[in-house]
Symmetry: C2
Subunit: 416 residues, 2 copies
């Protein structure tokens, strides 16, 4: 039973979270601005700001612009109060960083991995990279949280991957236990979810409510924001667009066992396969040279070749874009986003892909759904780690978790 004291604690917590959220996600603000943005009275804002400052989460910053009277002091989130360890894992890459509490990167290591090597090998290496980053970063504050993005579906509550198709050995793996020695709370999320969150917090998706982030890498997946919040789906598998049937009949057998899947037609593995075939068939002199030099063609080679004007590669990339565009056209009709962000290794290739996607979506979707639709490339270089840090911070500063650690001063040792 909630007592009046418990009620007051609840109201206090709600006000703390509201004030923190504005400063954390929107930037420095005056007390007056905080009052307007949260709907809380000035006296309550002043009390909560004082409490957050006392706990080292807010600091008085520079003076803001005056609106006539005395220039108001701006309050900023003390991102340096603690630090986070984050790892954004793709099928073949690990992007590992120490960040501050706002996702500012303090130290960073990126390398090729094979996620199919299994959780012991991959997370062992992530652990080493964490320690390597910590050795050079000398962050202020203690470790407040750990975040891991993985290329597969995740049961968010438990932090366990669930039947991830390209991650053998990871199904149900207790990622939290693996990093228990750090004594910090840990959350796991899907790799494309954190990329989407990164773009909303620090990239091109700022201010958008309905967003689809499409990652075209080895595989193809999407992250979805509805009402500005991540939509993870009933089983954490939302956004798995790589296995939507893109063509009616025939087509290549996909790793999922079906035929005609988008990913088997337009993913990085498909591009590498078709690029190598073009090299062997002699239709692409550029890729033939790559094949002769390195013995294999990768998706990124096809992208580089296309950006150099190699006709066969331009056509491969454009056809991949048209296939992705046809699937996205259906998603646009269904979901009516205001923004589609295209990211991933294949997307980095150049403008041919984006142009083909745009052309197909605008032609195949209903006019109303595309009237204000923007389709653009991901803007963040380290979107994975920025998004993973945002995912962890969002959890740490949500009422549910903040209530559990605020009086202790830091979330270190918080058991999930």
């Amino acid at each position: 039973m909630a007592t009046p004291a418990a009620l007051q604690a609840e109201e206090r917590l709600g006000a703390l979270v509201s004030v923190l959220d504005v400063v954390r996600t929107k930037g420095a603000a005056s007390r007056g601005h905080l009052s307007d943005a949260t709907g809380l009275g000035r006296s309550v804002v002043a009390q909560r700001v004082a409490e957050l400052a006392e706990r080292g989460l807010l600091a008085e910053d520079a003076f803001g612009p005056s609106t006539g009277g005395r220039a108001p002091r701006l309050l900023r989130f003390r991102a340096e109060a603690g630090h986070l360890l984050v790892a954004a894992l793709g099928a073949t890459s690990a992007d590992v960083a120490v960040t501050d509490l706002a996702g500012g990167v303090l130290a960073h290591r990126e390398e090729r991995i094979d996620v199919a090597a299994g959780p012991d090998a991959v997370l062992g290496r992530v652990d080493e990279l964490f320690r390597a980053c910590l050795a050079v970063a000398t962050p202020a504050g203690s470790l407040w949280g750990i975040g891991i993005g993985v290329p597969g579906p995740v049961e968010f509550e438990s932090g366990r991957p669930v039947s991830p198709p390209i991650m053998p050995g990871w199904d149900g793996y207790a990622v939290r236990d693996r990093f228990a020695a750090y004594g910090a709370p840990l959350w796991v999320d899907n790799d494309v979810n954190v990329l989407a969150l990164g773009e909303v917090r620090a990239g091109v998706a700022r201010g958008h409510e309905a967003v689809v982030y499409v990652k075209i890498g080895t595989g193809i997946g999407a992250g979805i924001l509805a009402g500005g919040a991540l939509h993870r789906g009933a089983r954490g598998s939302a956004g798995d667009i790589g296995h939507i049937q893109a063509i009616d009949q025939g087509g290549v057998v996909c790793r999922c066992g079906n035929v005609g899947c988008l990913e088997a037609l337009a993913g990085g593995a498909a591009l590498a396969r078709d690029g190598e075939a073009a090299a062997r068939a002699g239709t692409s002199p550029f890729l033939a040279r790559v094949l002769a030099e390195r013995g294999a063609v990768e998706a990124r080679d096809v992208g580089v070749a296309a950006s150099h004007g190699d006709p066969a590669s331009v056509e491969l990339i454009a056809e991949a874009g048209r296939q992705v565009g046809r699937t996205l056209a259906g998603i646009v009709n269904f979901f009516n986003p205001s923004l589609i962000v295209v990211g991933g290794g294949v997307a980095a290739a150049g403008d041919v892909l984006l142009a083909a996607i745009r052309e197909t979506v605008y032609r195949r979707s209903l006019p109303l759904a595309t009237r204000e639709l923007v389709i653009q490339r991901s803007s963040l270089e380290h979107g994975g780690v920025i998004g993973t840090a945002a995912m962890v911070a969002d959890q740490l500063f949500a009422p549910r978790w903040l209530a559990r650690w605020l009086d202790a001063g830091t979330p270190a040792g918080l058991a999930l």
Copy 2:
């Protein structure tokens, strides 16, 4: 600038909305249950309950089950405090009702219309049906709100249809002005959105967070719930799945101008067309009799024929189900709902359609996305009016609007 008094008003309003929401949408509750469900202290709940009772929105009801001590009094929402006028319009039907504030139907009129006759003709008839319902309902309380569901995209804030493809003359029409004489606030929403809301509030979708409601009538459309709330999309056109390209090449030209659209293959108009062709070709004796008797075949005739075992009709309905299922399989991968509700005139035909949809979705979607996915038929006879009433009540009792009418006692005269 928010003053301490304004802050108190804000907190009071939040508590009122929380208490009302539980009783309104979850049913009768004791004060203790309200405290648990809202996280508010018992003293605050008691104060807010008293205030809501004084304003006639809550009433003491029967005694609930005792948990040892004195049996607690249950509080119920006084749905009879006012009434609503609601109209659920489809392409060819109008379902009009007077309901209480909880969507309980007090009087009801249903008839065939042609929404393409334009807003003056259609809404003029709706107005007559409103008056006919009011003449027999003798509802307690005054008129608190009006809701209209229309078969097209709507700009929800202004209540105006936006480029609705099957509603010529409705684009930008000021529906609110048309009913201004009633002196009650009016909201307009998409027909499938209100059907989805009806199922969440009173039907098979209760307790689900991620839901897709598919209406297969003359056209095909979907209503989407994400996080338990309606997802209307950036331009109010979310759920327009009828024009997703269902087949690669060829196919019939759709009314939207594209070829291969789902609706042109599997909608009611397509079924009527194919059923009539079967009648003329002599492959369906059942439909040939219908054609001879009435000079035309409608989609519902094909459904009736299928449920009587007419082989050609069974195959037409099953093929429509497979086409819908293929599109839904992609949506399941993208959105990962826990429930798909199938409704609309064609869905009423029988089990053949549902079986074909299920079989295709379970075969074509990823196993994780379908592991706990339920696909079932709509459960509500008057889902459109129930959902439209829920849509209106949700607006009336949201903080934004409640603040504007609560002190006046009723929302009558509330200008939007």
